[in-house]
Symmetry: C2
Subunit: 128 residues, 2 copies
DNA sequence: CCGAATCCTACATGATACTG
DNA sequence: CAGTATCATGTAGGATTCGG
């Protein structure tokens, strides 16, 4: 199993650098914002949330909405987002299988924040 | 060189991306927020901005304030932040040389946004 | 004091093929 | 349809050393 998207609890503000927690893909961080920025900075993650903001989507729909993403990476991202409780996975028991993903309440609250960043970028840094 | 650039057509309302811009991110993105998330998600970047929020700091001060960072990486980050006009670099002509970094107006406006993410994380995702 | 120049490794991402 | 399993590769981030 490939899990370079493990979760972890980070101490807020210069906590003791406890290494007893499972390490994440990158490096131990002390700041929650830093940690989430790293997570959201991973490719596709923010985009997936963006798409799901309009309502639930199936795996195939997401794949089609994200041209260039590979099934492996899409699975990884969905698992990561699910693990962080930003999205919810629902599987039907029919055939063919239908898996649906939708934002959790927490995932929804994240949208406006990213939106702010987007607005800021448009205003202040549209051209780098 | 990596030439298997998949062409993507997603248009979320993106800022046109100049190809001559120093792409610090791993991949070309179409969304400004996505791009900035990737940038800010790079290790140390947000933390450097955080530290500079309290006022100008010298290279050595930053290095000491960021335990574990190597001079190379610190230079890279400072260059990246400078290139994106988030911080300003000032060099004195004395000896020994004194280089000072401070937030630009744009860099300052970014702070509150990251703060929002921090608050969100504390509320909704403190324990993953 | 403030970096630049090398070298190195882990990880993030992708390509491709295959399965319940 | 909704994913795994392998395999490959660029690059981010770090260790170390040297220079102005």
């Amino acid at each position: 199993m490939n899990d370079h998207e493990t979760q972890r609890i980070v101490t807020i503000q210069m906590g003791s650098q406890a290494n007893d927690t499972p390490r994440t893909a990158r490096h131990p961080t002390e700041c929650l914002a830093e940690d989430w920025l790293a997570f959201l900075g991973h490719r596709w993650n923010a985009l997936i949330l963006w798409h799901l903001a309009n309502g639930p989507m199936r795996y195939g729909e997401l794949r089609d909405a994200l041209p260039g993403i590979t099934p492996k990476v899409l699975s990884e991202r969905l698992a990561g987002l699910t693990g962080r409780l930003l999205i919810l996975r629902t599987v039907s028991n029919g055939f063919p299988r239908e898996t649906s993903y939708q934002l959790t309440p927490q995932g929804s609250t994240l949208g406006p924040i990213v939106l702010r960043l987007y607005d800021w970028a448009e205003e202040n840094a549209a051209r780098i």
